[in-house]
Symmetry: C2
Subunit: 366 residues, 2 copies
Amino acid sequence: MTDRIHNFGAGPGVLPEPVLRQAQQDIWNIAVSRIGILEHSHRGKLFERVIAEADEEARRLADIPDRYKILFIQGGASQQFAMVPMNLLLPGRTADFLVTGLWAQKALKEAQKYGKTHVAVSGDSCKFTRIPDVADIRYSENPVYVHLTTNNTVYGTEWKSEPPVPAGVPLVADTSSDMFSRPIDVTQYGLIYAGAQKNLGPSGLAMVIIREDLAELGLPSLATMLQYRTYVKERSLYNTPPTFAIYMVGQVLKWIRASGGLGAMAERNTAKARLLYDFLDRSELFRGTVDVGSRSLMNVCFRTSSSELDAKFVAEAAKAGLDGLKGHRSAGGMRASLYNACPRASVEALVAFMKEFERTNPRPPA
Amino acid sequence: MTDRIHNFGAGPGVLPEPVLRQAQQDIWNIAVSRIGILEHSHRGKLFERVIAEADEEARRLADIPDRYKILFIQGGASQQFAMVPMNLLLPGRTADFLVTGLWAQKALKEAQKYGKTHVAVSGDSCKFTRIPDVADIRYSENPVYVHLTTNNTVYGTEWKSEPPVPAGVPLVADTSSDMFSRPIDVTQYGLIYAGAQKNLGPSGLAMVIIREDLAELGLPSLATMLQYRTYVKERSLYNTPPTFAIYMVGQVLKWIRASGGLGAMAERNTAKARLLYDFLDRSELFRGTVDVGSRSLMNVCFRTSSSELDAKFVAEAAKAGLDGLKGHRSAGGMRASLYNACPRASVEALVAFMKEFERTNPRPPA
């Protein structure tokens, strides 16, 4: 037993307990420096090591080649929705979007401010309950890049593999909710970005992995803070970065490595999700809300027979120490986020609670 | 005695120890929620209270009227260098700059990307060693705003009061290194911004105080994350904010209030700075580098007789547990930052060390 409860929040999400324990020490006095991590200069030797380690851990975990740069940028994925087209959507060109949910729509909307866009496929017609067939994708003639959202936090779907793109066209991915939850071949992408607050660390930081040639495309007339080249050139230290968030990401990545790496994470995450999906498939009361083939391992969305019973479930679960189960305001129902740091024991506790809830709240006869 | 050393770093700077002690607890389990502060949803009740408290504490400390909105924005002051002109430098208008140092120059340079600018006065000719006379300021005919940097972290100067501006023209201030170190009359300003990592909290957050009419000036074609109105409308919760940094700012502001408020801070900070400046004025070896009338209470810049001896001093001080005394790379020499959370005991220890250093390293005869 711990004095902490089960946290299924979609983000900021649960963090690994050993990382929190270490952070408790390090905000007072890190590495015998007798200064806390929050109070170290970003230009000092200690923080230089902290940021270098975060970079090295990420490279090692995902086998990231040198020609890709890892950038730590503030503003989360929402700022990347704008920074990507500001830098990559060249005049006269078109950016193609695979629209599979709310966040993909937001990324599209920001890009429309900066140039021509084309929706190559959209899951809108099926209310984003499944990932579209790749056969239905219609790219524009010569897209400057193709943008997708690998996992859809709101609706609970995910791309199982990268969709085909026209030869030589960079794939740009928002991986906010599945980054480093499974192996990723970064060479399939031109640019990958992820808000840290789900699988990687606290909020207030986006990790961006960019092929170095793409970092040079933005016009120098862009704000210095909004050009990728600034972060490449200054190794994310042009201005004072969010030092604590970068420290935490480094610690979480170390924890992932110590836990066996991305392959081990994928196995665990698959097993955790299967526990819950298997129960949903057997349940008389609860049901998953998305197509079986599109099910996300990270965000499991489900419902009971009525929104009243959904609300009752969420409230009773919270009382029982199972927190963060309310679905996104635009989707309703329930959502259990099972990020890397969510222990299997939390999923087991959730399934046990759902079984008991079903017993005491039987589905009314149709 | 504590297991922590004296930290004179210019930012991220030293934080109040009681705030660090509370944070150690709260990152494991905050307010008996059995979830750590880093892991709470930004849409949940607990964080709603955290952000509301940070807002209320700031309003109370500086008596901020309702028509000013407090925004929490990522990207630090450097992103504000661009956001201010993006939103406020209207087509055909001119923004005036009072250039008193490196950061003012950077703010000017970003503004030049977005419209017409005018340098109303510059301390460039005296290498920024003093704040210009207000009599030397020459405003353009009808500036849309006037920008100043209230305290110059690199050179160690500060405006002692607001310079006069043409009637009705909003004053825009970068107060990164003196915000809430002394009373401030926000009604003298149209917009105030400050990176948090000096007097307010950890890095990764800028606090922006904006007169509400000015938040409506930005074109809706700007990126959503770069419009002030987005933060006003969504109370800084349009996307996932840097929740921990906001929590820390709230805690630091509470600590300031418990310590007597901004008036008490100003008294303490004045006394701390006087200790050091008085010693510099008496020393045979050390000397302050800026005009007496322009001396900053926050960043005290000084030198010995040679850069070799400066380096020796910095190295020996660090060994003696006095850290962060190296001057900014563009200014050289030494700099002691005496932010709110720097205890008087640290300044006393510094002066004692300087006396001893002077005794063992006497100034060579001229």
